[in-house]
Symmetry: C2
Subunit: 421 residues, 2 copies
């Protein structure tokens, strides 16, 4: 293939072959080309921080002071300061992992300060043998690791509004984060308690002041749930459930109970506030969506997105995240012309089930107006819907489980706006 | 297979089949069994932290105050406080990722506080076009992610001593850590500078006050090196090279130059201090080992290890880490009888090249004296050597590239000691 052929667009709006950057080098025209007569000066320039010894070693590292804009954006309730959320700044991140310090939070009554020496886990209800475990007991058990996303069922709910919200992507889609979780397969502990045949649900309860609880079908509990003790290699952070969190891969965030203290085996769900008043929606048909646990396939272009500006014409890499609660992402397509044509993006390996998958695609922007979209397909064949399709199915007044395609409009000046297109 | 058969050891000293925990539940005899008449009381117990609202949201999270023992152990030089190392507490961690705050450090003159708006990368020497890049320029380039370990060439050097050191594992093997690194494939920038045919080496230099530099063969630079901007999802931490680090997957830590400011293309290596006075060793033959870049296959049992105590008889899970600078780990064997017999451990998926791989194996300990070892094999067929084999090849007075098998002796009381066995 000649150089000219490689630059032939594979879809409208300047999208190029996803393997382009893998095969060869391209000029991004961003570097300053240096003439020989100024090279010597450039070589000898030493910055201020090279003139004196640097800072000493640290027992636990922190981000650069120049990165203080990369934080969780918190949205509390002044009447109940422990009730609210904080958002992951997905538009500032790259790769697949969310640093634990930036993993989103959703609390109902703040973050308890739990002494792990006093914390206990009780398994009771429809079991032949009630059990209580200390953290030291649990640390004896066999562990497994899994990379998985957690996404709040209420993530992206600003997209139900009639006008597209203009804010950084992380601050309306950032109730989704991805970690390596390590802990005990839940089925091991359930089997040790000898669950009775008529048990169909498991009620999980946290040790926060809200005693957050949810109901989980027992099949899922025996499938791939983990009682996590470690997150991204170290013990779980307090705001993510220290010392013990129920991880329910692929299911809405609320069932991933933090500060886990009790597992009650039951024939029926408990009908807690978080499965009746919340996380339940009326459909256009008049029926209610309840126990809609699985987070369906979704994708977002994170760079460029609202708040970025394209300063030059030339080559860009579009980068984003895709995930599905049903398994692996098998395809992400990108459009630069508002959905008229699509090109397949490169998926960063390893592609893991129920986990963030980074996708990337080369794009040539020469000042054309463009509408960027991404569309994920998962291994069940499910395709992320356009917004109008989602609204037709779920109504105009939804709140939970918004997973429609997100559109960014690029102006001739390189500015980026959120649009419904 | 009957229950009794499953418990038949697969190797001496009580090692059990690696799939045992995957197939069925087992009693670890650690939980307290609760009689019905005390269950009601246990259910109603509410801890102090459930009686009042918890802490508010945070913009950037931190570990629990109860985990303050999980820190990097720093070892500086009082005459030159910015010269030394800090160690990853591998014995306290689980899973594959090292949290960035606990990734090991090796500095020669401290951690520079670099303003990313002023930082530049220069590519010069045997090129047709010298180039200089700002960080904003670099952020336009296509990125890739790779999970890889970085291990200092001097890691584990206490194991060259004639007597086995008695200290927590992370504090003598913890100059090895593993992250997701995201950045620009180096070959893209080299091709843009049009490297001349007679260039064979690349001299990389950091922007610290020591102006740390190293020589890298150009083949490796064109292979899988990355100019990393992100670590574990966020911008690289200052002590790991903010804002730009050269990542050389699988090669000794010193070549992964932090605070990268210059890449000089050259026909010959620069013969810097760190490739002559250091990182070079005299062999028993009288020849010197120099430019021994690749970190050979290695493994460590992290739990249990020195500092742990087995408090009860019964089932345990042995857990550890393996890695190879040559590619993927294909097998980790564990011995509980000092190397007389071996059983194959379960490898946690995904198993990635030049990356930490977590291995685990069930073990039944009934008070028997045991010597635990692990032995890694990589995809080239290389097998991690016993200590006496390594010393026969490399001499008694080595300092770098120690990768022999590590042995833990378990006493009848459950105490654990480091031994040469």
């Amino acid at each position: 293939m000649s150089k000219d052929q490689e630059f032939l667009p594979v879809a409208g709006g300047g999208l190029l072959d996803r393997r382009l950057f893998l095969k060869r080098s391209l000029s991004f025209s961003t570097a300053v080309l240096i003439a020989p007569n100024v090279l010597a000066d450039t070589e000898d320039t030493r910055s201020a921080w090279m003139q004196k010894p640097g800072a000493p070693f640290s027992n636990y590292g922190q981000p650069s002071p120049y990165e203080q804009a990369t934080i969780r954006w918190t949205m509390g309730n002044s009447m109940a300061p422990g009730n609210g959320v904080s958002w992951t700044p997905l538009h500032k991140l790259e790769g697949m992992i969310t640093p634990s310090g930036l993993h989103f939070e959703r609390h109902h009554n703040g973050v308890p300060k739990i002494d792990p020496k006093q914390h206990k886990l009780l398994i009771h209800g429809l079991v032949n043998q009630s059990l209580v475990f200390s953290m030291d007991d649990l640390l004896r058990y066999p562990m497994q690791s899994c990379y998985c996303f957690i996404e709040c069922g209420g993530n992206s709910n600003a997209a139900w509004r009639s006008e597209p919200i203009q804010t950084e992507l992380g601050y309306f889609h950032g109730m989704a984060s991805c970690s390596e979780w390590t802990g005990i397969p839940l089925r091991l502990l359930l089997a040790e308690a000898h669950v009775k045949g008529r048990a169909k649900w498991l009620i999980a309860e946290g040790a926060d002041a809200a005693m957050m609880n949810i109901s989980l079908p027992l099949d899922k509990a025996f499938d791939d749930c983990i009682l996590a003790i470690y997150q991204n290699g170290e013990r779980i952070r307090p705001e993510h459930g220290y010392p013990l969190r129920l991880i329910v891969p692929g299911w809405e965030g609320v069932v991933n109970v933090k500060w886990l203290r009790r597992l009650h085996l039951s024939a029926m769900p408990t009908m807690a506030r978080n499965e009746t008043a919340k996380y339940t929606e009326l459909l256009p048909s008049g029926k209610a969506r309840q126990f809609s646990f699985v987070m369906e396939a979704k994708s977002l272009i994170t760079q460029p997105s609202y708040g970025y500006k394209l300063e030059q014409h030339g080559l860009y890499q579009i980068s984003g995240l895709a995930w599905s609660g049903r398994g692996k992402i098998v395809k992400v397509e990108v459009s630069a012309d508002g959905g008229k044509s699509w090109a397949e993006a490169e998926l960063q390996s390893p592609v893991l089930a129920k986990c963030f998958t980074r996708f990337r695609l080369p794009w040539q922007w020469q000042g054309q107006k463009a509408v960027l979209k991404s569309r994920a397909t998962d291994e069940t064949g499910y395709v992320q819907p356009e917004r109008d399709v989602l609204l037709a199915e779920r109504g105009e007044h939804g709140y939970f489980h918004y997973n429609a395609i997100v559109s960014w409009e690029v102006s001739a000046e390189g500015g980026i706006r959120h649009v419904y297109a």
